[in-house]
């Protein structure tokens, strides 16, 4: 058992931190938000140059064969600066789907351009009525002579509006909630019959609603076996939980640091408010929550490659609950200890607050996962 980073990992972390330190000041971030994509295309190329966009991919596809720990380090760094780029959607979610289920042809066609920063992807699985249920898929895929025809709608697809290609889940067979019969399809964002509508999330990141009307997909664009996609989707979501948990930890670190700084500098009644023991103890509790949350994010990362599916799912669910509860506590108290200034758009802490709030409501919130865990108690 050890928690040390390898030299390569330390180099990676330091390189990312340096890059972001130079390019992700709060004012710079605001300018990226104002760009048409809502994030920085030029930084995206920098990520590519530094090898971040192919980090988890196999070498033969222009990747570096990195694992969940490497992804964790990158996501933590992104969390510390509230990076806006579609890394989770493109590299983690879609990249995992392709790496796990893609054919040689599919991987060679897509992973290299992604690694080089020439293509972005989105994972279009969630639907309006599904909330957090992974098996609740109503979008249909009908077989045709040439391939498939997709009909339905996808909801709150992270970066779905700007992505070049979408990985869309659709039901080939079975009823709503049926674990079998779901397929994953590679769909060109410009395909006929596909309509997208983008909007900002509460944290400023981009998402989209996507409608599919008789969208034709070639046979070769089916990912993996027809109707057997659920296990793939579950692993994609697990990878997403691990990565977004690490991002949340980065954001919690930043909120905790800001709060300490404020407690030391803000004067009321002739002394820094940090001299109030009640606030000191709250800050101590925030630290404990942050560190326990960090432990859970590490657990999630180390479990992503666990072979036993039940063990993997259970531990990652526990991590999701732990990180979610910890981030809620840290974020709510970060604003509370800042007082009025923490409630303002101009001040950074509220932006971090909303980022962990959005992360908490991705892939199932703590109540959702706790309820599932509880049903296994015996």
């Amino acid at each position: 058992m050890n928690f040390d980073l390898s030299d390569e990992q330390r180099l990676l972390r330091d390189a990312v931190d340096r890059l972001l330190a130079d390019h992700y000041g709060f004012a710079q971030r605001r300018s990226y938000l104002a760009e048409p994509e809502g994030w920085s295309k030029s930084l995206w190329s920098r990520y590519a140059e530094q090898g971040l966009l192919g980090l988890p991919f196999a070498e033969e596809y222009g990747g570096f064969g990195g694992g969940a720990i490497e992804t964790m380090l990158v996501m933590e760094a992104f969390g510390r600066v509230l990076a806006l780029e579609p890394y989770l959607a493109t590299v983690v979610l879609s990249g995992t789907a392709l790496s796990l289920a893609g054919s040689e042809a599919q991987k060679s066609a897509i992973l290299p351009p992604v690694a080089e920063g020439r293509m972005t992807l989105a994972f279009a699985h969630g639907e309006r009525q599904a909330r957090y249920d992974l098996t609740d898929v109503l979008t249909t895929a009908r077989p045709t002579a040439g391939g498939w025809v997709l009909d339905g709608a996808k909801s709150v697809v992270a970066h779905g509006g700007g992505a070049d290609r979408l990985i869309v889940s659709a039901r080939i067979a079975g009823e709503r909630d049926d674990p079998d019969g779901i397929g994953l399809f590679l769909v060109d964002a410009e395909a006929n019959g596909l309509a997208r509508r983008s909007y900002p999330m509460r944290d400023g990141t981009q998402a989209a609603e996507i409608a599919l009307h008789a969208v034709e997909v070639a046979r070769d664009d089916l990912l993996g076996e027809p109707g057997a996609a659920l296990p793939i989707i579950e692993r994609v979501v697990e990878a997403g939980i691990a990565a977004s948990s690490a991002e949340a930890i980065g954001a919690m670190e930043a909120m905790h640091a800001m709060t300490l700084e404020y407690l030391k500098t803000r004067q009321q009644f002739g002394k820094p408010i940090g001299q109030n023991q009640a606030l000191q103890h709250r800050a101590a509790e925030m630290l404990i929550a942050l560190e326990e949350g960090r432990s859970m994010a590490m657990l999630a990362a180390m479990m992503v490659e666990e072979p036993d599916p039940a063990e993997r799912a259970r531990n990652i669910a526990m991590a999701k609950i732990g990180v979610g509860q910890a981030s809620r506590f840290v974020a709510q108290n970060a604003i509370q200890l800042h007082g009025g200034i923490g409630m303002t758009e101009e001040y950074a802490v509220g932006h971090y607050f909303r980022r962990v709030m959005v992360i908490e409501h991705m892939f199932g919130d703590p109540t959702y996962h706790l309820s599932r865990l509880a049903e296994q108690v015996q």
Partner: protein, 401 residues
């Protein structure tokens, strides 16, 4: 001892409930039900309808155009109005400047301002907090120098809600910088927001709304006749305003309405393949909240029914407990409503929703608004004295520590 409302109180409740049902405009009710914050015009329209009926100034005595209700009757009115849900009457007009003028105002001030405040012909805002004076209000620096029959005001206020809507602002200013105790040397002024030298700068909140402002005063001339109370005794006026009877500080009606709304929506959305309302973890959250709401409700009954016996201006220290628990419940219940929305509560598609709807459809609006009010109400445990300050008050006032 009897927990039940009297027949008269029940009759009044039914009368109020029926009046709101019949007279609350449908468009306002619908926006409120979806969780939108009331617009200025919604508040004005509704408060004038209430004022027609003599209820807008719900806590004013009859002689000043109020209904002359008992604290219990006021509580009933506030709760019914929140449960409707209807926009709440302007607290600046009704529970702040009104009672202050009734207690400390000159006849001229009362005659001129009270009727317009009740009918919200004047929209009032509160100029208390400053960048260096938040919890520590007595540290305020905004200066008012006497020049003949005017004060010349220079300085800055912050967190001034709805200053951009306001016609008038009641302000604490320092008239005697030399006073030995900081609390002395402060005066309470009524300032016309149209006076030259006033600049209002918006502060956007984390929910995206423009509610708060900074207000800058640059040689603003205020007639001495616009001072309330004696010069340098403004702290007494402020203490009265902040400390006097605080019916409805817990805003329980709003928390109840949010739980009802969350339960209604939880029947429509699903978790783990069944309606969320059947999810054990969700049900337990709701049950616990209902217990907490009940406990606070009875406690509020006790505090409010005590107000009658207390002389005005002497707050029950337990009202700090109502503030703490009430805001904790407001935050927990809006959090619940947001969690019901789940992923659909995370988009900020307010603007898009206003826009001509085109494919694919967005929404539902209620989920997005649930998050908006969750975010907005993070401030509930901060404004009006943070919950930590409230515990300091309890420590001194009740515990003698």
């Amino acid at each position: 001892m009897d927990l039940r409302f009297t027949a008269a109180e029940l009759a009044l409740r039914d009368e109020i409930r029926a009046f709101i049902r019949d007279r609350l405009p449908d468009d306002i009710r619908e926006r409120m039900r979806l969780g939108y914050a009331p617009r200025k015009e919604d508040t004005v329209r509704w408060q004038r309808i209430l004022n027609e009926r003599g209820w807008a100034a719900f806590n004013w005595p009859r002689d000043y155009g109020g209904p002359g209700w008992t604290p219990v009757e006021r509580m009933i009115f506030l709760e019914e109005n929140q449960l409707a849900p209807a926009p709440e009457v302007s607290s600046f007009n009704i529970t702040m400047i009104g009672p202050v003028l009734i207690q400390f105002g000159t006849e001229e001030q009362k005659r001129r301002f009270l009727p317009r405040a009740a009918n919200i012909d004047d929209w009032w805002c509160q100029g208390f907090s400053e960048p260096g004076a938040g919890s520590d209000l007595a540290a305020l620096k905004t200066a008012a120098k006497r020049e003949g029959d005017h004060y010349v005001v220079n300085g800055q206020k912050i967190w001034t809600s709805t200053a951009h809507h306001a016609d008038w602002c009641f302000c604490l200013v320092r008239t005697d910088p030399a006073a030995k105790k900081r609390q002395e040397g402060i005066s309470f002024l009524l300032i016309d927001m149209k006076t030259p030298g006033i600049t209002v700068r918006p502060i956007v909140s984390i929910d995206g709304s423009h509610h708060l402002n900074e207000v800058f005063f640059d040689d603003v001339r205020v007639p001495v006749a616009m001072r309330v109370g004696e010069e340098n005794r403004g702290w007494d006026v402020a203490k009265y305003l902040l400390g006097h009877e605080r019916t409805g500080i817990a805003r329980l009606g709003k928390s109840k309405e949010r739980v009802t709304f969350a339960r209604e929506k939880a029947r429509e959305v699903r978790a783990n393949g069944r309606p969320l309302i059947e999810d054990p973890a969700f049900r337990l959250r709701v049950a616990q909240l209902e217990v907490d709401i009940k406990a606070l409700e009875i406690t509020q009954f006790r505090v409010v029914s005590d107000y009658a016996k207390k002389e005005a201006g002497k707050p029950d220290p337990l009202s700090s407990a109502l503030k703490i628990k009430g805001t904790e419940l407001l935050q927990a219940t809006t959090e619940l409503a947001m969690d019901v929305g789940g992923p659909l509560a995370m988009p900020d598609w307010a603007q898009e929703l206003e826009a001509l709807s085109n494919e694919p459809e967005l929404g539902p609006a209620w989920a997005s608004e649930a998050t908006k009010s969750y975010l907005f109400l993070r401030a509930a445990s901060i404004y009006g004295g943070t919950n930590e300050i409230q515990k300091n008050i309890l420590t001194k006032a009740v515990l003698g520590l």
